[in-house]
């Protein structure tokens, strides 16, 4: 066994730096089998190399060993293709800590492309996940999907075509998502039930919703403390192609940012443009068009609280909201040729938490907030900044531990 491993390692190293890459797209059976074996028999410290070429798999790959690095030769060169996959709910499933994956692409998986379930110290660097035929309901749900992780870095990555979220960080702690691009997903980047996340220097464009910060019920960890800054969140107007019943199926096309039921969210220094429903939507769980909105577990907090929006550059957007109710409000308040303000809020608050510390604070050169009076079926929508001209203490920078 040991001898086999060493031979395999040598084989991989050789194929990584010497041999001709497969350029024809033909299945390179020997590499695929040796790659799978390398994942199955990995020891901590292993660096598993993926040479340039399209490597085809018809069933999932699984890694369960801590301390492993998977390294390709570039997100447009080393491609794990799962077109025609017949088994497994993911492309690559990782149940491990101290994991690094870099310079590689995962394409056309039946389900999620890269799922990392429970682990500490995770790096996803210059990884592309893509459904290559473009947006479609049949595409897998998530591109880059760490869940229940801690100390997680996603950088320089690209996520395209997910039928749920391109980059989806769930139930995690201490997370940085930066320098990445999310395009043609239902949700570009989604931070859900996560505590302490920094999302910056990303581009979210041509999604249904650009960047989402959500809390869902029935999960042990309620999320809070996310900073979204210095991103370009533009033209997220792709019609929603999520399957009904999922959380993101309720996201209107043309949503730049959506905050739902999450607390302590700081949004600053972003370019947020031309998102036709609204550049920023803020809602409670009640009006998120989710199922189960009337019966919630007592411990779940459905209200977005302590939201701080400042120093963003807004332009365009709000001229064609993807909801009849919002469209009526637009025409009624702003005229046929008018547009909704940059920030649209459902106005539903916890009656026990009306103190300024829980407010939505907007300190952003003239950006307006529209309260659509969601609790009363939009009877009295109003732009009234009086409760929103305030500031909150800024959240701390996320310092990731050395990985």
């Amino acid at each position: 066994m040991r001898a086999t491993l060493i031979l395999l390692s040598i084989g991989l190293i050789l194929s990584g730096c010497g041999q001709q890459p497969e350029s024809t797209g033909k299945p390179s059976a020997s590499f695929e089998e040796s790659f799978r074996l390398a994942l199955e028999t990995a020891s901590s410290g292993d660096v598993i190399l993926v040479p340039a070429g399209t490597h085809r798999f018809n069933r999932s790959l699984t890694l369960n060993t801590d301390g492993v690095t998977i390294r390709g030769e570039g997100m447009d060169k080393s491609i794990l293709s799962f077109a025609g996959q017949v088994a497994g709910a993911e492309g690559l499933l990782v149940n491990a800590s101290d994991f690094v994956i870099e310079d590689i692409a995962i394409e056309d998986t039946k389900g999620d492309a890269l799922k990392i379930n429970e682990g500490k110290n995770i790096v996803v660097r210059r990884v592309r996940t893509e459904w290559t035929a473009g947006p479609a309901t049949e595409n897998g749900a998530y591109g880059i999907y760490p869940v229940q992780t801690e100390n997680t870095l996603i950088e320089g990555s690209v996520a395209i075509g997910a039928s749920d979220a391109g980059i989806y960080v769930g139930q995690s702690r201490q997370v940085v998502v930066r320098d990445s691009r999310a395009e043609y997903n239902v949700a570009g980047i989604e931070i859900e039930n996560t505590i302490h996340a920094d999302v910056y220097n990303n581009v979210a464009t041509n999604n249904t919703g650009g960047i989402l910060v959500f809390n869902m019920p029935q999960i042990n960890q309620a999320g809070h403390s996310t900073r979204v800054y210095n991103n370009r969140i533009v033209d997220n107007n792709t019609p929603n192609f999520a399957i009904p019943g999922t959380a993101v199926s309720g996201v209107p096309a043309g949503s730049g940012m959506v905050i739902n039921s999450n607390d302590r969210v700081e949004i600053f220094d972003n370019d947020i443009k031309n998102n036709q429903t609204a550049n920023i939507l803020i809602s409670s769980y009640f009006s998120a068009n989710f199922a189960g909105q009337r019966e919630l577990a007592e411990e779940f907090d459905p209200y977005p609280e302590t939201i701080y929006i400042y120093a963003n550059r807004f332009s365009g957007g709000g001229e064609a909201p993807d909801r009849a109710a919002l469209e009526q409000v637009r025409i009624a308040l702003f005229g046929e040729d008018g547009h909704l303000p940059d920030i649209v809020w459902d106005g539903i608050q916890n009656p026990d938490k009306l103190a300024p510390e829980f407010a939505i604070c907007v300190n952003n050169d003239g950006a307006q907030l529209l309260n659509i009076d969601g609790a009363n079926e939009n009877k009295n929508p109003v732009v009234d900044m009086s409760g929103h001209q305030c500031d909150h203490a800024k959240l701390p920078v996320i310092e990731l531990a050395e990985i």
Binding site: M1, R2, E33, R36, L37, L39, E40, T41, N58, R59, S60, T62, L63, N64, Q85, V86, A87, G88, A89, L93, N95, T109, K110, G111, D112, N117, E118, T137, E138, G140, A141, Y142, Y145, V147, Q148, S163, D164, Y168, G170, Q171, M216, P217, Q218, I219, N220, I243, P244, G245, T246, A247, F290, A291, G292, R294, E295, A297
Partner: protein
């Protein structure tokens, strides 16, 4: 004295003519299954090794209608510790095996899940054995080893395998993409505590084993006790539903014919979800991310109904919602994600994620009957 004689007699029966079992440490796993001596092929028969006992489960995991032969070998002189809920504490050195096979008819595989559990009933001239999975209890924990049959022996294949067959259903045949799980995929189910990541046997729980032995009328737990391998507490022991009874009553999906009480229906459905889903959908399992708990402790009358899916919206189901809003809509299986996930064969959406490519018609019928009988509504 009498007791000793009885044990000797039983051991004599067990020993049969099998070869002695060999135990290997993790650095020296043999490439061939026959080296273990647990299950070997002799002509058109499968032969169990010395002191290797067969066993069966009340409600088993559905595995695409494959027949399954399960065996247990505990090293001589060792014994197990009983637990009413958790996996029996089996000694280091224990080896469990499960051999998967299908009967063949005109070159097609046919349904074989009603296998008696007696290896003597297997005729390899008409039965195709595909794989044997071992769970080996090492000092560091349980190792999972997939062996794939090729002629007279099976070969260790850490990476698993994907084999394609024609499978005959009632009036048609379909392609069966049979998946032999890789070592890591074995952990996908057997790491029932996903945080620790350590493999555990799943079937080796009192409630699964509490039933007659496949070769004789003795209760399997009593048999372990009689062999001196376990000490049982006094009183009734938990038991999941006997799936063969449930199947008998389901007939051909006609749930209306059931002449059973609601309590029996619930017990059968909960037993089914327990063994098919509970290894991930438990409070420490890989699927705790979903907030949906389907192990038997989490689906009882006192359970948090939302946590077991009643009016619970999905978290990260993707297409797995099937367009439905809740895991369980009381009284409405067709609107319940739980049922959809059992009825779909799409690899991205079907449940369990590993080990099922066909629809388990009886499983769906039993779970749907349970959902249909639930009262309440989702507002």
């Amino acid at each position: 004295m009498f007791r000793n004689t009885l044990i000797a007699l039983l051991l004599g029966v067990l020993a049969g003519c099998g070869q002695p079992v060999s135990f290997f440490d993790a650095q020296h796993y043999p490439a061939k299954l026959s080296d273990w001596g647990i299950v070997t092929r002799s002509g058109n028969r499968l032969v169990l090794g010395q002191d290797v006992d067969t066993y069966d489960l009340n409600t088993p995991l559905f595995s695409d209608y494959a027949g399954k032969l399960r065996t247990l070998w505990i090293p001589p002189g060792e014994s197990a510790v009983f637990d009413a809920d958790k996996t029996l504490e089996l000694p280091v050195g224990t080896i469990l095996s499960k051999t998967f096979f299908y009967d063949q008819h005109n070159g097609q595989l046919i349904r074989s899940d009603q296998f008696s559990g007696n290896p003597a009933d297997l005729d390899l001239d008409r039965t195709l054995i595909i794989e044997t999975r071992l769970l080996v209890h090492q000092p560091h924990g349980w190792d999972a080893l997939p062996y794939v049959w090729d002629g007279a022996d099976a070969v260790l294949k850490i990476t698993g395998d994907l084999q394609t067959f024609e499978f005959k259903q009632t009036d048609s045949s379909i392609v069966l993409n049979y998946q032999v799980p890789s070592k890591n995929e074995c952990a996908g189910c057997h790491a029932t505590d996903h945080t620790s990541g350590e493999n555990q046997p799943i079937g080796m729980k009192a409630r699964h084993l509490n039933r007659p032995h496949p070769l004789e009328a003795t209760n399997q737990l009593d048999r372990l006790s009689q062999r001196g391998l376990i000490r049982l507490p006094a009183g009734d022991l938990p038991a999941n539903a006997r799936w063969s009874d449930a199947q008998l009553h389901v007939g051909d999906r006609d749930v209306g014919d059931w002449e059973v009480s609601d309590r029996d229906v619930a017990h059968r459905a909960r037993s089914y979800l327990d063994i098919n889903c509970g290894h991930c959908h438990n409070p420490r399992g890989a699927a705790d991310t979903s907030g949906l708990m389907l192990d038997i402790a989490s689906t009882g009358p006192a359970a948090n109904r939302r946590a077991m899916g009643v009016c619970k919206p999905p978290i990260a189901s993707g297409g797995g919602s099937g367009g439905n809003l809740y895991s369980i809509v009381p009284g409405k299986p067709a609107q319940s994600i739980l049922s959809y996930r059992m009825r779909t064969t799409d690899p991205a959406d079907r449940m369990p994620e590993i080990g099922r490519t066909l629809v388990d018609a009886e499983g769906v019928a039993v779970v749907d009957a349970w959902l249909a009988g639930m009262s309440g509504e989702c507002l």
